[in-house]
Amino acid sequence: MGTRNYRRKTSHSEPGPGDGGRTGSWRVERPVLNTSLCIPCKRKAEACFICWLLCPDVVISRTIPPTIDLEYCKGCGICAEECPTKAITMVDESAFSEENEGKE
């Protein structure tokens, strides 16, 4: 099955996961959350969520703890840069290469 019957003739994306393509494949550094530093995790209450607000790919959940959808996280590092407690660090993807083995 190809794209022949797709409802648009152009590039047309709607808000939602994946409509910009599998942006997770662009990532060279992965954001890793340290829950012992993350404000809502420490307070066990809704707070901060600056990472959720600013992630350009909308892949961080507004939950305790915040979770990151690595399928679409492009690794831009904005969340790590903006987190007021430095709870997110960017780690080179090679550190996870074993985990990726056998995957596409």
């Binding site: 648009r8 003739k9 393509g21």
Partner: protein, 399 residues
């Protein structure tokens, strides 16, 4: 109503009759009187449209792209370096499949600076994915604009309506201005599949990856290559849609006929002169002279340059002894772009059938160099005598 006016006014009247919603243009000779006329119509309230003054041609087309994406019927016009300056947006409008109509009032491109007529400007935009229509008189200008909106909106492909600077844009001739009611019957309001809408947000034409992808609804969406393939496929199909447009036009307005080619004395002709635009009418005078000398010659005006009407041309030129292609532009380093396209069509459809004509290329009128009818006739005679050259012949060159 029949009036006597210049070609730019014919174009402006066509745009007004089409009830265009948004006009954005930057003045450039010889297109300027067209945009001035449109701004007068809008200013006086005669035409209900937004006229958006811009600081460049690039912005003019960007405005039309935005207006068209929001569901507005939009128009721009330019010439020469103005067209070259908007080139990036020209490609964009086609890839975004927006049915914008643009008049290209043909003029030579710089360097060196030159404001006179040739067709290098629009020919150099051949591969941008726009449909290109060439006009030979004022009636064709006004009629082509009306047909162009119908066709563009049917196939979601932008259209350039090209006419020769000065020779058509600034000369006066009689033509019929169609009734508004008939135009409204022919051309319904623009009603696109999707128009920008805050209640249905979407990103249009953002980064599109090489591969296909599942969209938010889980449907398999095109990759870049599929989108570009569809543009090509639907350009080819628009030849058929253009025939439908022409038929409707003839039914409503009682004029027109063949959307792709305009033959003059071609049926029994052994030799056919081929060209684009007003030059083909000048060539009719040469052919009349040659006919008096007993030479069976004809003229084939090409109205559609893209999509290229290869089958119509091959059928019309099949079995002719010679085809002489006159061009006011060329693909530097080889020959005229039109002659290359035409030879490819003839080879594709006639090779091996023994009906392939001999083809000669003639370059004329570059940068407004005077094209004397006697010179055209003489060059036709020479080609007809079989003195065909490997390189194109340049008429009027003094070097």
């Amino acid at each position: 109503m029949h009036i006597i006016e210049n070609g730019n006014v014919a174009a402006a009247l066509g745009v007004m009759l089409c009830r265009v919603n948004v006009i954005a243009a930057y003045p450039i000779t010889p297109q300027t009187p067209l945009t001035e006329k449109l701004s007068e119509y809008v200013e006086s309230g005669e035409m209900k449209a937004e006229y958006i003054p811009v600081e460049s041609e690039h912005s003019a087309l960007a405005v039309c792209i935005a207006a068209s994406s929001a569901g507005g019927r939009s128009f721009t016009a330019t010439s020469a370096n103005g067209l070259l300056y908007m080139h990036e947006q020209v490609q964009w409008a086609a890839g975004a499949r927006l049915p914008i109509v643009m008049c290209v009032v043909n003029r030579a491109v710089g360097a060196p600076w030159n404001v006179w007529n040739d067709q290098q400007d629009s020919i150099s935009q051949r591969d941008t994915g726009w449909i290109q229509i060439y006009c030979a008189d004022h009636q064709q200008i006004i009629d082509s604009i009306i047909k162009a909106y119908w066709l563009a909106e049917k196939v979601s492909i932008p259209i350039m309506v090209c006419y020769d600077g000065y020779i058509l844009s600034h000369t006066y001739m009689p033509f019929d201005v169609p009734d508004q009611k008939k135009v409204d019957d022919f051309l319904p309001p623009f009603n696109p599949d999707y128009a920008l809408n805050p209640h249905e947000p979407a990103n249009l034409n953002t980064v599109t990856l090489p591969d296909v992808r599942l969209d938010v609804r889980g449907e398999l969406a095109h990759g870049y290559m599929e989108i570009r393939y569809l543009l090509h496929e639907e350009m080819r199909k628009s030849l058929t849609v253009a025939a439908e447009a022409e038929k409707r036009f003839v039914d409503i307005f009682g004029r027109g006929g063949d959307p792709y080619i305009e033959p003059y004395l071609c049926d029994d002709a052994e030799y056919v002169a081929v060209g684009l635009g007003s030059l083909t009418y000048q060539l009719r005078v040469c052919v009349d002279t040659l006919r008096k000398e007993g030479i069976k010659a004809g003229v084939m005006g090409i109205r559609f340059y893209r999509p290229f009407p290869d089958i119509a041309l091959a059928n019309a030129l099949k079995g002719k002894k010679g085809v002489i292609v006159f061009e006011k532009a060329l693909s530097y380093g080889y020959e005229g772009a039109l002659v290359s396209d035409l030879k490819s069509a003839l080879y594709e459809h006639l090779a091996g059938t023994g009906t392939l004509p001999v083809v000669q290329n003639i370059i004329a009128g570059i940068g407004g160099r005077k094209i004397r009818t006697e010179d055209l006739t003489q060059n036709l005679r020479t080609a007809i005598k079989g003195q065909v050259t490997y390189e194109p012949v340049w008429i009027g060159l003094e070097i």
